[in-house]
Each structure stands twice: as C-alpha cells, then as structure tokens.
C-alpha cells in the first residue's frame, strides 16, 4: 500500500465525444484537474459511439490502469466489459450518466446530474412562467440519446399534473443550433403557430438557433414565446441577459474536481457513496447578469 502512494495514479477515462460546447467544457475540466493533481490520465474520445467506448475500456484493462472512469454514451450494453474489469480487479467510476446493470457491484460510484430531474425542473419553470397555461413547442435532442429520452420523460411527468399545459409540436433538433433553427422555422409556419407560447428546448444550443428563427419571423423571443432550455452554457446566459431566453436549467459540466476526489478515494479503497449528484441550479433572467461572468464555457 505504501508503494501505491508513491506511484503515479493511472486513470483511464473514456469520454463520449466533443459533440457540444458542454462536452468540451466537461473534458477540459477533467483534463486540467488531472494535471493539477499529477494523475496519469489516459484519455480516450469515443466520438459518440458506444462500441468505441467498449474498446477503450477493454484497452484500459489491457494497459493495466488503476481506475477506469467513463461517461457512457448509452445506459445499456456495458455489462460484459464491466465484468472483465471486475475480473481484472479494476474499479470503475461513472461520470455524468449511469448504466443499467444487473449486478450493481460492477461499478463503484456514479457522479453526475439527473436528466429526468432536469426535465422536471424545466417543466416546473414553464409552469411558473405561464401560470400553468401553455401551448408548448418542444425541440427534442438527438433521437434515441439518453438525455433526450430522460429530459422528455421528466418534463412530461410534471406536465401530466397541469391539464392546461400541453405539447402541441415536437420535433428533433439533434442538439444543434442549425437544426434547432430549421425546425423552429417550420414550427412557425404551421397554421397553429400563433398558439405557441412556450418553447422547451432540450439544450441551450437548439434554443439559441430557435431564437434566431423567431427573430427572423418577427416574433419576440422571451416575450411572445417564452423559452426554457437546459444546460446553462455561456451563450444561454448572454441571451437571458438580453431578455431573449427565460430560464435555463443548469447541467454542470465542470465535474473534474468532484470526479477526481471520488477517484482518489476509490483508489485508496475508501468508502464512497454509490450516487453523488453534482451541484446544479436553475437560472432565470434576474440572475443572468450576475452569473454571466462566472461562466467560462
């Protein structure tokens, strides 16, 4: 045990990809924290593919790292490779997102936000903004992706409690600004477009695209149509400051410090809780100006 204290801790981390500003911030946070603590980080980018992630984990096992951490692309499908990790005696820490496994001992702990909860928070924000009367247009994330599924789930769960709030249009915007704009343009041309008074976007990027579409159609975003989105990236705060976005539900990407606290504990065989929730808030226009300078991503 004295030996391990001397040796550099080797951690393999498999990231989902670099698909959004949020993800890049997440990666940066993890990398810089590892460097700060002098940890030998083996970083691998899965480019949004689960099979790449499985390859990386298997490779980490072959390389003989001390701890494996990863942000799973999807919830299922990791059982066999986690079994291998367990056999090789390497502890696994999940970040950002959980996995579904029959045997919970396959990972030690999970740090991250709760997408379903984010959806619920967004719905509550909508209720607060509109007093429970809303015709909602929804910009869904990438079809089949975990955040899209869970955020929708949480949102609709709360919605069922408000009879006067309903989703009247829903379409995927692929989590991107361009698609968000394109889909919003189409929404605004529907015959019942006038009824829309709320936009719920599964992430900020799509909301920012939609805002442009509204402006081009001569609609005031944030006023004519209230906008609620998720993530809390810098661009969203800027938009809120300008009054174009109403609420963003934070989903904190800066998990580095919390993650390595956990990893070091795990490496030292200390007890850790099975579930650690990252600290996140819900921000509205009133808080935007104060919060903006603190956002580096």
């Amino acid at each position: 045990a004295a030996d391990t204290a001397q040796k550099k801790l080797v951690v393999g981390f498999s990231q989902v990809g670099a698909e959004s500003g949020w993800r890049t911030a997440n990666t940066e946070s993890i990398k810089s924290e590892a460097q700060k603590r002098g940890i030998d980080l083996r970083f691998s980018d899965a480019q949004q593919k689960q099979e790449n992630q499985i390859k990386a984990i298997r490779s980490f096992i072959a390389q003989g790292v001390d701890v494996i951490a990863f942000s799973p692309v999807v919830e299922t499908g990791f059982e066999p490779v986690l079994q291998e990790a367990k056999k090789a005696g390497i502890p696994v820490v999940l970040s950002d997102r959980a996995v579904k496994v029959s045997d919970p001992s396959l990972y030690v702990t999970f740090l991250g936000s709760d997408f379903v909860e984010e959806g619920r928070r967004a719905a509550n924000a909508v209720a607060k903004l509109t007093g429970g009367k809303a015709n909602i247009a929804e910009l869904v994330g990438t079809v089949g992706s975990a955040p899209a599924i869970d955020r929708k789930k949480g949102f609709e769960e709360v919605l069922s409690k408000y009879p006067d709030m309903k989703i009247i249009m829903s379409q995927s915007g692929d989590f991107t600004r361009a698609k968000g704009k394109e889909v919003m343009e189409a929404f605004l041309k529907a015959p019942n477009a006038k009824e829309i008074n709320v936009l719920f976007a599964h992430n900020d990027d799509m909301a920012l695209g939609a805002i442009q579409a509204m402006e081009e159609a001569g609609i005031k975003p944030g006023q004519d149509i209230k906008i609620v989105s998720i993530d809390g990236v810098r661009g969203a705060f800027e938009a809120m400051k300008d009054g174009k976005l109403n609420v963003t539900v934070e989903c904190n990407p800066l998990l580095g410090p919390q993650l390595f606290d956990l990893i070091e504990k795990v490496a030292n065989k200390e007890e850790v809780p099975k579930r650690v929730v990252s600290q996140e808030g819900v921000y509205d226009q009133a808080q935007a100006a104060a919060e903006l300078p603190k956002r580096q991503y």
Binding site: A18, G21, A190, A217
Partner: protein, 370 residues
C-alpha cells in the same frame, strides 16, 4: 385571396417549365418536385402560405430555398466529382473547416469579414485540391482518399475553434446566410452564381466534355490525349470550393461556427441530390441543373416532414420511400414494366418517357442525348 392567385401563378409557371422539359432527363426530377409540392398544396396547411415580412418574402417555400442552399451548393461540386466516376465524402468536413477558419479569423483574430471569407474559401479549395492529389496523383480509390479528410477534417476544424462554438455578429458574415436580395434569400443568389460559374466552367469550355469522357472511359480518354489526372484534380478542387461556400452559408445561418456539427452527414444528402438529379454514380453524363433540382427536392422533403410534424424516429422512412419512388420513375425499365401492367399509364408515360428522335444539337449538355 392573394394566396390563391399566387398559388395559381406558381403552378402555371411550374407547369410550363415541366412542359418544356418533357422528354428530357431532368423531367423526372422536376416532376417529382412538383408532385411533392402538389401534395403539400393540398395536404399540408400553411405550406404554401407566403407573406411579405420586412420587405422580403416569407414562407415555407422560401425556407426550402434558403435551407436547401447548402445541399445545392454541395451537389454542384459533387455532381462533377461523380461524373468522373468518383465520390467526395469529405464535403461535410470541409464545410466545418471553412466555418471554423472564417469565424476564428473574424472573432479571435479580429480580421475583416472579407479576409475571413476569402481565407475560408482558399483553405477549402486547398482541401479539395488535397483530395485531388490523392485521387489523381496517387491513384487512391476516391472513397478512401476522401475518407481521410472526412475523418481528419472535422478534427482540424475543431482544432481551429478549440472545440468551442464561436459566435459572431459581423453583418457581412451574417448577410451571407440570412440576408435578402430582391426579396429573396441571398443564398439563392449564391447558388445561382455558383451554378453559373460551374456552367461556364464545364459548358463554355471543353472541361465538361473531358469530365464526361474520363468518367465514361478513363483509358480511352487517355488515348485521346485528355489529361485525365488534371481533370480529376480540378473537379475535386472545385468540390472543395463549393463545400467552402456551403460551410460559410451554414455558419452564417446560425451566426456561429459549430465545428462538430456543421455539415454532418450532408455528404449523403449531396450524393442523393446528384442521383435524384439524374446523374449516374457510375460516372459519365452529368446534369448540373438536375443536381440543383435534386437538392431542392431533398430539402422540400425535409421541410415537409417538419411541417407535417412527422416524428423524427420514423421520418427517415417516408424520406427513403419518396426517394425510391423518384428513382423508380427515372428508371426506364420500371416505366416499361408499369406501362405493360397499367395500360392507361403507358399512354401517358410513353410520350414523356421515351425521348423524341433527335433533331438538332441542343445548346447545352444538360439536355439529353438520345
């Protein structure tokens, strides 16, 4: 009332264009576009609604023109590449590079919009030239040669933006993808100018003939004294240029450069547009205008699916079926089979399908040779 008149006018114009095109290869692509629009006329409320907003036209059909500009631009480059018997998978990545370069210069390096746009176009043209060197110079199969840039190019774009989404507000840059000229989106002008440029390049010079010849029989072209390598190099370079333009339009559209997502999977749409436009993937004869019409068709399809609120889960299915249907009608053997089965169909399709005996040379290659 106004809508009613403008619709009627639209259909009269469209109908006459179709009538003029009968017997030509692109008749089927334009016809398919017409059918799709006709469907929308009756079944998608609001699709044909058009109004004037801030001094320019505003409506779904305008969106199609504006959003479709990217695919139309790409397909102009792609159609030439395909005509030489190749394919360019890297256009999506090159779009991202162009977007990254321009916005980085604009925002981080504080350069003028003109410089940023010029630099982006130069670099994307160079990227295209790189593909050209691999294919023509080293003789690597086009699909692998361009796969290299497809994979690496997006990385380069992210490297340039350092993984961030760069936002900009420069009016010139914003105008590219959002501005209006003559009450229509400026992107339409951009497409038409590029089409004109391509048209000049291939139809006013002999390049078009060389491209078709190389695509049809590489060896025999060499024997005839055509510099096949040069021809191939040129088309990939031009494709890079077109991708650069499309990339500028794409980032201008959303006033930001999102290196990871700009142009993602758009190479597929561009190839589809070319095929829908009547050009064979085997190379040889190509149809520039067909490619543009193909691009419009695909965008109309996408917009239709959005407008009809078809769930994204299954929206690929109707898209696929529509494309197959278009190509079935382009297929000579399908038409013959159909006219055997359904007699009255045959009577309608026959005069449209089988081309009339050639009288004289038509001015451009975009008309068919029987």
């Amino acid at each position: 009332m106004i809508d009613w008149v403008s619709d009627l006018l639209f259909w009269i114009v469209f109908g006459s264009i179709l009538f003029l095109l009968r017997g030509q290869r692109i008749f089927w692509s334009v016809g398919a576009l017409g059918l799709l629009l006709l469907f929308n006329q009756f079944f998608t409320p609001g699709f044909f609604h058009i109004q004037i907003l801030d001094g320019h036209l505003y409506g779904s059909r305008i969106d199609v023109l504006n959003q479709g500009a990217k695919v139309m631009l790409l397909s102009l480059g792609m159609v030439l590449v395909i005509a030489t018997g190749g394919v360019d998978l890297s256009v999506g990545a090159v779009m991202a590079i162009a977007a990254a370069v321009s916005s980085r210069l604009l925002v981080t390096e504080h350069q003028s919009a003109g410089a940023a746009i010029a630099a982006a176009l130069v670099i994307s043209t160079l990227a295209g030239a790189w593909n050209g060197v691999l294919v023509a110079g080293f003789g690597i199969q086009p699909i692998v040669a361009t796969l290299v840039l497809m994979v690496a190019g997006r990385g380069v774009a992210q490297l340039i933006t350092e993984g961030q989404i760069i936002n900009f507000l420069d009016p010139t840059m914003v105008y590219l993808g959002n501005g209006h000229l003559f009450a229509l989106p400026f992107t339409l002008t951009l497409v038409l100018v590029t089409l004109g440029l391509a048209f000049f390049l291939v139809r006013r010079t002999a390049l078009g003939l060389f491209i078709e010849s190389v695509g049809d029989n590489d060896e025999a072209s060499r024997y005839s004294g055509i510099n096949a390598k040069q021809v191939k190099f040129l088309v990939y370079t031009f494709s890079g240029f077109c991708a650069g333009l499309a990339g500028l339009v794409a980032c201008s559209n959303i006033k930001s450069a999102d290196a990871n997502n700009i142009g993602l999977y758009l190479e597929l749409d561009a190839i589809l547009a070319v095929v829908v436009g009547g050009t064979s993937l085997q190379g040889g004869r190509f149809y520039l205008i067909g490619a543009v019409v193909g691009g419009l068709f695909i965008q109309t399809l996408t917009t239709t699916l959005y407008a009809r609120n078809v769930s994204s889960d299954i929206s690929p299915v109707p898209k696929a079926l529509a494309i197959i249907a278009v190509c079935l009608f382009q297929s000579e053997s399908f038409r013959t089979r159909l006219s055997h089965v359904v007699r009255p169909f045959g009577r309608i399709l026959k005069p449209l399908g089988s081309r009339p005996p050639q009288k004289s040379i038509t001015a451009t290659h975009d008309s068919p040779k029987p």
